[in-house]
């Protein structure tokens, strides 16, 4: 880069920083620092992959839902997750990466998705716990992201948040029904809470002190609130909800601090978190194998659709001619 180019780059970056400071949104064709572009691509595509892989643990229960209503509800929820993935892929594409490239990064295991989806759904109560806790945690994060600085990402978040609250409520209702059912049902609900509680807290990512991208990401308002702040918000919301269910959160250190007006909670097992992130969770291999299988087995459908469109286009030309 010549000296003149460097000067121009610096003045553009100053202008950019000023716009961010004034809470202006950045739109696709605006000038942006390369690193801002890359950080957004990384975060938005990971978010998209999470929605897409997130369909798998729940899809597992569609055929075994306990009633027709529960079945159509779960189908609608899983369809929403597909939709959310598509909104997010589109938002990321405006930054200049292709859909296929992003998808390929996910399929080969290079790109990450939320570690929570590498845990298995063992009983029907898990569907309740996922809606209540996993979607609940996602909502806390996503509501904050509706204020993110990149326009297309913020707009996708607004749309997603509108739809997500149904997910949490239907999950909570499943938990409430089971917690007030037979002793066996209540035990199932408690067991699901026991298994999903800690992984849900891990969804917010590493502690602030260990989060490598946080500083720059917050300076550019890609992230609006830090991992620890969001985690605390979630705990403060979830504990009273568990009380109403009559279920016990599996944390002996959990206690309310009237001075801070927050719940204090015990230490998170970060060793487990990093193991899952690195690919050694219970379901990592199965999830990726399933996504790869679906992509490969769907290839003929994608090809057939293109062949059909070409045939139709030729027919139109012939008619016009």
């Amino acid at each position: 880069m010549s000296e003149q180019e460097q000067m121009r780059e610096r003045s553009l970056e100053e202008e950019f920083t000023k716009r961010i400071a004034q809470d202006e949104k950045i739109e696709p064709k605006d000038w942006m620092p390369q690193r801002y572009r890359q950080m957004n691509i990384r975060q938005i595509s990971q978010h998209a992959h999470s929605e897409i892989v997130g369909m798998l643990p729940e899809g597992n229960w569609i055929t075994r839902a306990p009633s027709l209503l529960r079945k159509v509800t779960l189908l609608a929820k899983v369809q929403d997750e597909a939709g959310h993935g598509l909104y997010l892929y589109s938002a990321a594409e405006t930054l200049g990466i292709s859909r296929d490239e992003m998808y390929e990064q996910m399929l080969c295991g290079k790109a990450k998705y939320s570690s929570i989806f590498n845990y298995p759904t063992l009983t029907w109560a898990d569907i309740g716990a996922i809606g209540w806790l996993v979607d609940g945690a996602a909502i806390v994060n996503q509501v904050s992201l509706t204020h993110t600085s990149y326009g297309p990402y913020a707009r996708a978040m607004v749309r997603i948040c509108k739809e997500e609250s149904f997910h949490q409520r239907q999950g909570y209702q499943i938990m409430y029904k089971m917690a007030n059912g037979t002793p066996e049902q209540k035990a199932m609900a408690q067991d699901a809470l026991n298994r999903w509680w800690w992984p849900s807290l891990m969804m917010f990512g590493p502690r602030d002190a260990e989060s490598t991208h946080t500083d720059q990401s917050m300076a550019w308002k890609i992230k609006i609130k830090s991992n620890d702040t969001l985690r605390q918000m979630f705990v403060d919301q979830a504990v009273p909800q568990a009380d109403i269910l009559g279920l016990r959160i599996p944390d002996p250190h959990l206690r309310y601090n009237p001075e801070t007006a927050h719940y204090e909670f015990g230490a998170i097992d970060w060793e487990e978190f990093w193991q899952v992130v690195k690919g050694h969770g219970i379901c990592n291999k199965q999830r990726l194998a399933d996504k790869n299988k679906a992509w490969k087995e769907g290839e003929w459908v994608r090809k057939a659709a293109v062949a059909y469109a070409e045939k139709q286009a030729k027919k139109r030309v012939r008619k016009a001619g």
């Binding site: 064709k29 369809q79 589109s90 996708a156 739809e163 994608r302 659709a305 469109a309 286009a313």
Partner: protein
């Protein structure tokens, strides 16, 4: 095979989706999606963007057909309107007591 056809083999073209929420309102940009042709784009738009009665009408347009103004030229393009405050009603002071204006 042309370059465009080659790229179609790998990835379906991108379409922009516009939805009219209800009669009486304009179509508004909702987002984008990939589809092989206009018909499929419409079907996908219905499934992706109107699962909760968000619309009564959908337009799809292939993204490459859209010509956009250049954000780098934003100032040159839109600034001329800035100093023409006489185009706004508040520019004109009315004498005390004038009503219905």
């Amino acid at each position: 095979m042309s370059q465009e056809e080659q790229s179609l083999k790998n990835e379906w073209p991108l379409w922009e989706v516009f939805v009219r929420s209800k009669n009486g309102l304009e179509h508004r940009h909702f987002g984008s999606l990939h589809a092989v042709d206009a018909e499929m784009a419409l079907q996908h738009a219905r499934d992706v963007y109107t699962r909760r009665m968000e619309g009564v009408s959908i337009w799809v347009v292939e993204s490459k057909q859209i010509t956009a103004s250049d954000p780098a030229q934003q100032t040159a393009y839109f600034e001329p309107a800035q100093d023409k405050i006489y185009r706004h009603p508040t520019f004109y002071e009315l004498p005390e007591g004038v009503k219905n204006m």
